[in-house]
């Protein structure tokens, strides 16, 4: 049934409500697609077909009674960083390969309460550390897109690379992601889908495996912004179990989509015009500016003077917090343990065997910048520069409503083109990191293909809790771009 793979999350929801399709047949079609494609894509770490069928049957019962939440019967994938009660949760790390949480994360509990059907746990970079999804202990994910002139395996981006690939290939209608420095927006751009990193505090972090606590934020990834809006409304909300969660009402995000941009002031941050920026990325950015202008927005040149310090600040803050958060993986209460005669010997052997190279490198750097004699020089200074970065955004948002930038400095690249220098890898996040440091919301929409046939995304950044404004502007870009291309590897066959 190829047409079952043509649904968006929103159109599937409407067809389910109208009883034109059943949740079970929709779920079966997606499970079949996973069987057919995912041995190759490797977007799932753990598949949960039995759980999915059971949830789908319950959704059909609710729908038959004329009930059911806003995601009732919708097949979803869950990034394997969200604790799911009774289902293995690995964070793509060997050290958690046998961890079965006895509790549920708030975000996934919210999605289940609204009737979401969970097809499984999606692959990611180990502990969400990476921009390629090649650092997973469960193997890399293949991007379903291909270069037009080559059969090379491309990266889906990271860290939510499994989420990006599964949505793009039509294996799920939506997926959760988490974004610490761009981990929703960059893979969304690489996979030709939409993704939103909401304001820090908008979604609860309870039950999400922590990487850098002051930055981590959950968000939706789906084919369209309408789909993301529906999911975000379900995921978001105040949670007493997370002290950084913010107690403000969740608006009707879907209703904001049609607001348009007439009279909206759109800022173009001049510091994002990097020397040596790929001309195709620059051209797409100009195209985005033209689309918003045609729809009635006013374009304003703005300055975010500390932009160039975003990446080094991010790496100090994120690595320091990671070294602290990952101290809990010691092989005592959970996880894979290595047996040794002494306690320290056991810790050292357990952590040496359990963590991959990227995670080890980040823990070591984080430990270094927090260690005696270096704390002030590195961590404290970075926190001060972070204040300046947030102030840059606050000043810009006195003049404009949203900022428009490219999402990533390139399209998806090959597994074997991955830069070996860690700093070159970090540069993937150059456009996404500043919004993460500031805590403001940002999204990515697919806006076109590059000359090699892979998707490119545009990013919109907004004021605290103004996700609705972002959705309105994003929807204008989405409609103008009319991105209907499909990847080579897709459940419904190639377009």
């Amino acid at each position: 049934m190829a047409e079952l793979h043509d649904f968006t999350l929103a159109s599937a929801r409407d067809a389910l409500k109208a009883r034109e399709i059943s949740a079970l047949e929709l779920t079966e079609a997606h499970l079949e697609a996973i069987e057919k494609l995912d041995d190759r894509l490797n977007s799932f770490i753990t598949r949960t077909p039995e759980l999915a069928r059971e949830q789908a049957r319950r959704a059909d019962e609710a729908l038959a009674r004329g009930e059911g939440g806003k995601l009732c019967g919708i097949p979803l994938g869950i990034k394997d960083l969200f604790a799911t009660k009774g289902t293995r949760t690995t964070a793509a790390s060997r050290i958690l390969s046998n961890f079965i949480p006895p509790y549920e994360s708030t975000v996934t509990a919210n999605l289940q309460k609204d009737g979401g059907v969970f097809l499984g746990k999606l692959n990611l970079d180990e502990f969400a550390m990476g921009s390629t999804n090649l650092t997973s202990a469960f193997g890399g994910v293949e991007n379903p897109w291909k270069y037009s002139d080559s059969d090379a395996r491309l990266v889906p981006g990271g860290s939510s690379g499994g989420s990006g690939a599964a949505v793009a290939a039509g294996l799920v209608l939506g997926a959760t992601g988490t974004d610490t420095g761009g981990s929703i927006r960059q893979p969304a751009a690489f996979c030709g889908i939409a993704g939103i990193k909401p304001t820090y505090g908008r979604c609860s972090r309870f039950g999400t495996v922590a990487f850098a606590s002051s930055l981590d934020q959950a968000g939706p990834m789906a084919r369209t912004l309408q789909d993301c809006a529906i999911m975000l409304e379900s995921m978001a909300g105040f949670d007493p179990k997370d002290a950084t969660s913010v107690d403000v009402p969740v608006p009707d995000y879907e209703a904001a989509l049609g607001r348009g941009v007439k009279g909206m002031r759109v800022g173009i941050p001049r510091e994002y015009r990097l020397a040596g920026l790929d001309p195709e990325i620059d051209a797409l950015w100009e195209q985005g500016i033209a689309w918003l202008k045609e729809a009635g927005a006013e374009i304003v040149d703005v300055s975010l003077p500390h932009t160039r310090y975003g990446l080094p600040t991010y790496y100090i803050v994120a690595l320091a917090e990671a070294s602290s958060n990952l101290a809990r993986y010691d092989g005592v209460r959970f996880g894979e343990r290595q047996t040794r005669d002494t306690l320290d010997g056991m810790y050292e052997a357990t952590r040496a065997a359990g963590f991959g190279d990227e995670v080890k490198r980040r823990i070591l750097l984080g430990t270094y910048v927090l260690s005696s004699g270096y704390y002030d020089a590195y961590y404290l200074r970075a926190q001060k520069v972070r204040t300046l970065l947030r102030q840059d955004f606050q000043k810009a948002f006195e003049k404009v409503d949203v900022l428009l930038t490219p999402t990533a400095p390139s399209g998806a690249f090959g597994w074997d083109e991955k830069p070996t220098d860690p700093i070159q890898v970090y540069l993937n996040d150059v456009f996404t990191v500043p919004a993460s440091l500031a805590g403001v919301p940002a999204l990515s929409v697919p806006a076109g293909l590059n000359s090699r046939g892979v998707p490119l995304g545009l990013q919109l950044i907004g004021r605290d809790f103004e996700e609705e404004t972002l959705l309105a502007a994003g929807h204008v870009l989405e409609q103008a771009a009319n991105f209907t291309h499909r990847p080579t590897l897709h459940a419904g066959g190639a377009a």
Binding site: I100, Y309, R351, K360, R361, L364, S371, R386, D464
Partner: protein
């Protein structure tokens, strides 16, 4: 930024990550590179700038001083790699 092997070994011990000698040399080079790159933050004038410890958006919440959870010993122990009765085990630390 120069970082000697002794410092890397000390940091690895603080982080409780066992490293082989050849790993120390590789990581030493990578850490030096990254720390050299972040040194550009020294160009920024941060005098009188307060450190950012959060966005300031979340308000502290008080709750009733009462037990909200409990009696979940089996759940807490359910992932223990090694346990004896109701206890986690560790290698002997006291002679």
């Amino acid at each position: 930024m120069s970082l000697d092997a002794k410092t890397v070994a000390r940091i690895a011990r603080l982080a409780r990550i066992g490293l082989e000698d050849d790993e120390v040399a590789t990581i030493q080079g990578q850490m030096e590179g990254i720390l050299g790159w972040v040194d550009q933050l020294n160009e920024v004038n941060v005098e009188d700038v307060p450190p950012m410890v959060g966005t300031g958006l979340a308000q502290p919440h008080l709750r009733q001083d009462m037990v909200t959870d409990g009696d979940c010993r089996e759940a807490v122990l359910s992932n223990a790699p090694d346990r004896v009765g109701p206890f986690f085990t560790v290698p002997k630390v006291v002679e």
